[in-house]
């Protein structure tokens, strides 16, 4: 699979404020720097497991920024660190999560890293089992609709995960009941070692929408602004009661599947190089610079701030308390 050609439109053509563009860039960069630091910590033996979203930041930030934080719900999957940042997770919390610290708000060390979830922020707790969350998202959308709350739910998964029965049952249910769910598929080309052709029989993952009579769109997932525009429209429609939408963001997994994986076994280096040239963060920086929206100094300042934030977060989090052994007990049931 080859990288799509980038859009040529200047950024000013979009209805995004300068502030929004800055946030966009910051979130993407923060996610990347966090992931880089995490992988470093893994290589140093401090963090036993890392699963990252490198290459998918534009898709994630573009999509998440199209939602109304505080109102809308997010049912993410493990790569969606950047989405969680948009929904309010701090760098320090991300690092607490990495180290499985007692105070990680996602799961307090009970789940693997990158298994997100925080009720108050409307981020739905997630397991390792792929695609199950699409049904939870559908249930939340059903509930919101029954309560006439103006909530939109975004449910995310990889393209490989669209093979599962739960994907079908979720889209079918949401389509029949016209529920406000955006199914957001981050097509990064691989499900571990399996290329998309082994998971999806159509040209685009978004073609699956046709089987449910709902709208579908394939967007360049390396372009945060384009993703934002498309998702924003889908969100607005859904909020107006027009039902679900399936969006495929074509992006690329720039790293191996996880810190445990060796992708040289199955992935051609040339393909990787081709996509790396389209690194969404590099591209974004070039564009905002070229379009004259931000001077290089501003961007450098953001980078420096983020580097410091990430450094601090890692250091701070590492010093936080671990769970006690017996913290394994408790909260099996909610006390009424």
């Amino acid at each position: 699979m080859g990288a799509p050609a980038p859009t040529e439109q200047p950024l000013s053509a979009y209805q995004l404020s300068e502030q929004s563009l800055e946030r966009m860039y910051s979130y993407m960069l923060l996610a990347r720097r966090l992931n880089e630091r995490m992988m470093l910590l893994n290589r140093q033996g401090t963090a036993p497991f890392v699963i990252a979203g490198a290459g998918q930041e534009a898709a994630q930030v573009g999509a998440a920024m199209a939602l109304q934080v505080g109102v809308d719900y997010l049912a993410p999957y493990y790569r969606d660190l950047a989405m969680n940042l948009v929904f309010g997770m701090t760098a320090r919390e991300a690092m607490l999560n990495l180290f499985a610290k007692r105070d990680d708000p996602n799961s307090h060390g009970r789940q693997m890293p990158s298994h997100w979830g925080l009720r108050e922020r409307h981020v739905v707790t997630q397991s390792s089992v792929v695609a199950t969350q699409l049904l939870h998202a559908t249930g939340i959308a059903l509930a919101a609709k029954m309560r006439q709350d103006p909530v939109v739910v975004m449910a995310c998964c990889g393209e490989g995960s669209t093979s599962r029965g739960d994907f079908h049952e979720a889209l079918n249910f949401a389509a029949i009941h016209h529920l406000p769910v955006i199914f957001f598929v981050e097509n990064n080309g691989y499900a571990i070692s399996e290329r998309v052709e082994k998971e999806v029989p159509t040209e685009h993952v978004a073609d699956r929408a046709r089987g449910y009579g709902i709208e579908g769109a394939t967007v360049d997932g390396m372009d945060a602004v384009v993703v934002y525009q498309t998702v924003r429209q889908a969100v607005d429609q859904a909020r107006r009661g027009r039902g679900p939408f399936l969006i495929e963001a074509k992006c690329y997994r720039l790293w191996a599947h996880s810190s445990d994986d060796d992708d040289s076994r199955y992935r051609p280096r040339e393909e990787l190089a081709e996509w790396a040239a389209r690194d969404p963060i590099k591209l974004f920086r070039e564009r905002v610079q070229n379009d004259g929206i931000f001077p290089a100094e501003d961007l450098d300042r953001i980078e420096a701030q983020i580097d410091e934030e990430v450094r601090d977060a890692a250091q701070w989090a590492m010093a936080q308390p671990d769970p006690e052994p017996a913290d394994a007990l408790g909260f099996v049931y909610k006390e009424s």
Partner: protein
């Protein structure tokens, strides 16, 4: 409703729950038309916004209920036959049972999954199963399996009020079989408690669902022969009321566990193990289990079905042997 069948007890409890709390709603296959057992009959007309037909897809019924419960509603999902819940096993095991645990109490799921189970209705392989052993092995889920109308009523009420996922098992053979005067009937109102339905000296029979009814009948027969049985209605299968179980066995010194599920790996193993470990010194005889033979679920033909199912005669025989030990 002075005297009620199990179906009537469940229906009126659902009706009241929908009435009392607009967050409560029923979802499942054919529930709008009343369901195949007519349990939800009339409820759609009375509460049009709270009864929802779903597509024929069990994983979605449970997964959607999870989402709705997380949002703050009180979904009451119906699985048409317990036999069809297995496609939703992953959603119950990997998701519902761990929702609270994996967030350390940050999130929780006030949801009920109702499922008609059990045999003796000529339902064959896939309309007769006992599924409790699979689901009682999921910490984080509660499993309830009453026998008498008043318990169905009070425990369903408790299940709906519970902030945790509850699998509420309705023995379909008891649906219309058993009538009970509802006012003043003994009823457990708390999940997790067993009841000594009959107090006896010689041995303890432990059962639930239809087998509880059969065990009580067997106990009557045995009483006439001079064998005096305690009969414990387990009522909640997860978490088990270990204290009540042990106390009864410690008193009688002999235990017979009865279930309709196949023997090996059935819930009877767990109960026998608890007794063998914690009432060992009180035991006057081996802990006995009476269960269905180890064949895959229930054969359809009535002769083979009867062969498969434990019943009052088989229970009486097993209890007689045990008493004579």
């Amino acid at each position: 409703m002075a005297v009620a069948t199990v179906i009537e007890a469940i229906r009126s409890t659902l009706d009241e729950a929908l009435e009392a709390d607009e967050r409560a709603f029923i979802l499942g296959e054919d529930v709008e038309a009343g369901g195949v057992f007519r349990v939800t009959e009339g409820l759609k007309a009375k509460h049009p916004a709270q009864v929802l037909d779903t597509p024929l897809a069990e994983s979605s019924i449970i997964g959607v209920a999870i989402g709705a419960a997380h949002y703050g509603l009180r979904p009451i999902a119906e699985i048409q036959f317990a036999d069809f819940i297995h496609a939703g096993f992953d959603q119950l095991c990997s998701e519902a049972s761990r929702w609270c645990y994996r967030t350390k109490g940050d999130s929780w799921l006030p949801m009920v999954v109702r499922a008609p189970w059990g045999g003796g209705v000529h339902g064959g392989q896939h309309h007769s199963q006992s599924i409790e052993a699979f689901y009682a092995h999921l910490p984080g889920i509660k499993v309830v399996a009453p026998a008498f109308p008043a318990d169905y009523r009070s425990l369903l009420k408790a299940a709906i009020a519970d902030p945790n996922p509850v699998l509420f098992l309705e023995h379909k053979r008891t649906y219309r079989l058993i009538k009970q005067e509802m006012i003043g009937a003994p009823a457990e109102t708390v999940l997790g408690r067993a009841r000594v339905t009959r107090q006896g000296r010689d041995l303890t029979i432990l059962a639930y669902g239809l087998m509880l009814i059969e065990s009580l009948a067997a106990a009557e027969t045995l009483a006439a022969e001079g064998i005096d049985c305690s009969v414990v209605d387990l009522l909640t299968l997860q978490p088990l009321d270990v204290e009540t179980i042990l106390e009864s066995v410690r008193t009688t010194g002999k235990a017979l566990i009865v279930h309709e599920d196949t023997l090996t790996g059935g819930l009877g193993g767990e109960i026998a193990a608890l007794i063998a470990e914690h009432a060992f010194e009180f035991l006057d005889a081996p802990v006995r289990r009476l269960a269905a033979p180890d064949i895959p679920a229930m054969p359809y033909h009535h002769a083979m079905e009867a062969f498969f199912m434990p019943d009052r005669d088989k229970i009486a025989k097993a209890a007689r042997d045990l008493a004579a030990y």
